[in-house]
């Protein structure tokens, strides 16, 4: 392509017969008249490459720093001991780890049926109408609402009005609302990828609308839906702001037993608590907890990417 830029072009000498129409022609003439155009082009591509490497370097530096700092703290003891505010070097993360597991389990239980149900309704049932446009617009806007605002909603609705206090249940319901737009939008995309021939064939065989959805469309879009669900849950697992806003404890000694009443903490909250302290030993403990959290998150991400990749390879409509 750039070879063209070096050859003398007839456009260099503007002929009276061809009026310079439009900026593209002007642009081409300039390129041909500049011997350094090729060099500038090359330099620009290097600049862009440098940008990309800077981004990747930031990612690697960040991960390397955290893992090299926190790896030493991770052990079976660290995973199974209660945290300590007096001896940070001896404490573990069991209470917040269990809290996080409960939270994610309940969040998945609430958000998957509601999210996939909404997506099925919007894609397969709702006729194109003003109501559908409104719901769709509403979901797109909810996806951009800061998570701490959901926390304030959870505080007013679940903690106060429903009287759930600072329980795991209140936290899970709040996180459900946070990730619901993500689940709906990704499930909709997966449903849209199923070709309409599948639907037509099913209806032609006399299936009802729900039979078509349940036996044909959902199985066909399952990998796509799962990918979205995994990514949304990994977002919920790392989310701390809405939990802080509902008043969840950043430090508890014992894992919650009663999901409707007991105070709980979650891994990101414990990390927040330890990072906020000034002693070095707390920071090491925080790094250890981050290593545990990131390992799980990166594992979930890898699973989602793998699912998407295999799906893209296997299914050729």
């Amino acid at each position: 392509m750039s070879l063209v830029g070096n050859t003398p072009s007839p456009l260099n000498t503007p002929s009276p017969l061809v009026p310079a129409a439009g900026s593209q022609q002007l642009l081409a003439r300039q390129a041909a008249g500049r011997p350094w155009a090729k060099l500038a082009s090359r330099l620009f591509s290097l600049l862009c490459l440098l940008c990309m490497w800077t981004c990747l370097a930031a990612l690697f530096l960040l991960l390397w720093q955290i893992f090299s700092y926190g790896w030493a703290r991770v052990s079976l003891d660290f995973l199974t001991k209660s945290p300590s505010q007096i001896y940070p070097e001896k404490g573990g993360i069991v209470s917040s780890l269990v809290g996080s597991i409960y939270l994610i389990g309940l969040t998945a239980l609430f958000s998957v049926p509601i999210g996939v149900g909404s997506a099925v309704y919007l894609e397969e049932y709702a006729p194109a109408s003003r109501w559908r446009t409104l719901v769709q617009l509403n979901i797109a806007n909810l996806a951009g609402v800061p998570s701490i605002v959901y926390g304030i909603l959870g505080l007013g609705l679940f903690v106060r009005t429903m009287g759930l206090n600072r329980s795991v249940m209140a936290g899970a319901l709040t996180l459900t609302l946070v990730i619901l737009p993500i689940v709906i939008l990704s499930a909709q995309e997966a449903l849209r990828a199923v070709p309409s021939t599948i639907r037509q064939a099913s209806y032609a065989l006399g299936a009802t609308r729900w039979q078509t959805v349940w036996y044909q469309i959902l199985p066909a879009s399952l990998p796509g839906i799962l990918t979205g669900v995994i990514l949304a849950l990994s977002r919920a697992l790392g989310e701390a702001a809405p939990l802080v806003a509902i008043g969840a404890a950043t430090y508890v000694r014992k894992a919650p037993k009663n999901l409707w009443a007991d105070d709980f903490s979650a891994l990101p909250l414990q990390i927040y608590n330890w990072t906020d302290q000034s002693q070095e030993a707390f920071h090491e403990a925080a790094a250890g907890a981050i290593v545990v959290l990131l390992t799980v998150l990166i594992g979930m991400n890898a699973l989602a990417i793998m699912l998407r990749y295999r799906f893209a390879k296997r299914v050729q409509w």
Binding site: M1, G5, S9, S23, Q24, L27, A28, A31, A37, A40, S41, F44, S45, L47, C48, C51, M52, C55, A58, L59, L62, I66, P113, I114, G117, S118, E123, Y125, I139, A140, N141, G144, V145, P146, I148, V149, G151, L153, L155, G156, L177, P181, Y203, T208, R209, W210, S234, G238, E239, A241, V244, I246, T275, A287, I290, L293, L297, I298, N301, I305
Partner: protein, 310 residues
């Protein structure tokens, strides 16, 4: 979508037993209920924010709230001017954008115009990993790694300062800028590129004078969405930027953002229902309105862009 089966009722009537019709209706109702949850969420957010903000604004004049230059609700004498929190929020978001926009746009241009498909297949998942790192981890990085570095370069900087937050929030919003801008750059029709090449333009001319201008509105939308994300960013900012509500543009001092203030009050023992506690709903309302405006703006730009090329 649901366009074709407008008449499956006839098939259902003849082929399936009557019991199905009842089941179908029940399932339809259930699915509608699922979709209604998201509508109720929006109504809930507005109601909860207003229910506590209205009593707050009965005690504090809205004009004083919006134009006051001092924010000190927790100390005597109390001041309820939100401008310092706004200033902190946009100082951090703007600073983050100054790091992230050139880097992100450069990377997006490289990925869409220059990179081999294999490179793209490796880099994009890596950037997704970066996008998946939780905010509190960035807060940790800001406190433990970035802050000492900043203080080495600028010895006069506060321990917690806006620059720390700008750097980590900038890294956080990078993946968003890259993936959204790359999408719009790639959606520019091939014919535009080929037309320019045919006229003898170099790759630099094509990229900077044809593709980027053509995709400009989409790129702008991606910037706005990224800034929205930075405005709503909470944990990293509240760990890194400090907790002093100040009306300043100096990135080396400690500032407080709207989100960090909500965190500060949520963690304290301020009794619910008091004027001090109601401030978080008023601040939350301001945050909600600012992000909503930015979002609507970005979506409007994107939908205009889609119309242009479809």
């Amino acid at each position: 979508m649901a366009s074709l089966p407008s008449s499956p009722t006839t098939a259902k009537g003849t082929l399936s037993p009557g019991g199905f019709r009842w089941l179908e209706a029940a399932i339809h109702g259930l699915l509608v209920a699922c979709a209604v949850v998201s509508v109720i969420t929006t109504i809930g957010i507005v109601l909860v924010l207003l229910s506590q903000s209205i009593p707050f604004f009965r005690q504090v004049a809205p004009l004083e709230f919006l134009t006051g230059t001092k924010w000190a609700p927790l100390f005597e004498p109390q001041h309820f001017g939100i401008l310092p929190l706004f200033c902190g929020t946009f100082l951090v978001a703007g600073g983050a954008a100054m790091f992230a926009i050139p880097l992100g746009l450069g990377t997006a241009i490289y990925l869409s115009e220059y990179a081999a498909p294999a490179t793209r297949d490796i880099v994009k998942p890596l950037l997704e990993i970066l996008a998946g790192i939780p905010s509190v981890v960035f807060g940790y990085v800001a406190v433990v790694f970035v802050s000492p570095l900043v203080r080495q370069v600028f010895p006069q900087a506060d321990l917690f300062n806006a620059l720390n937050a700008c750097i980590v929030v900038g890294i956080m919003i990078l993946p968003m800028i890259i993936s959204l801008s790359e999408d719009v750059l790639r959606s520019v029709p091939r014919s535009l590129r080929e037309g320019a090449y045919a006229l003898g333009a170099t790759k630099l001319d094509v990229t900077l004078r044809v593709i980027v201008p053509a995709a400009l509105s989409g790129i702008m939308a991606s910037f706005i969405l990224a800034i929205t994300r930075a405005v709503g960013e909470t944990m990293a900012v509240s760990l890194a930027a400090g907790a002093e509500a100040k009306l300043t543009l100096n990135p080396l001092t400690s500032v407080q953002t709207m989100t960090a203030y909500i965190v500060e009050v949520s963690q304290g023992d301020i009794p619910a229902g008091s004027l001090e506690h109601r401030t978080i709903f008023a601040v939350g309302l301001s945050l909600f309105v600012s992000t909503l405006l930015l979002n609507v703006c970005a979506q409007w730009i994107l939908s205009r862009m889609r119309e242009k090329y479809e």
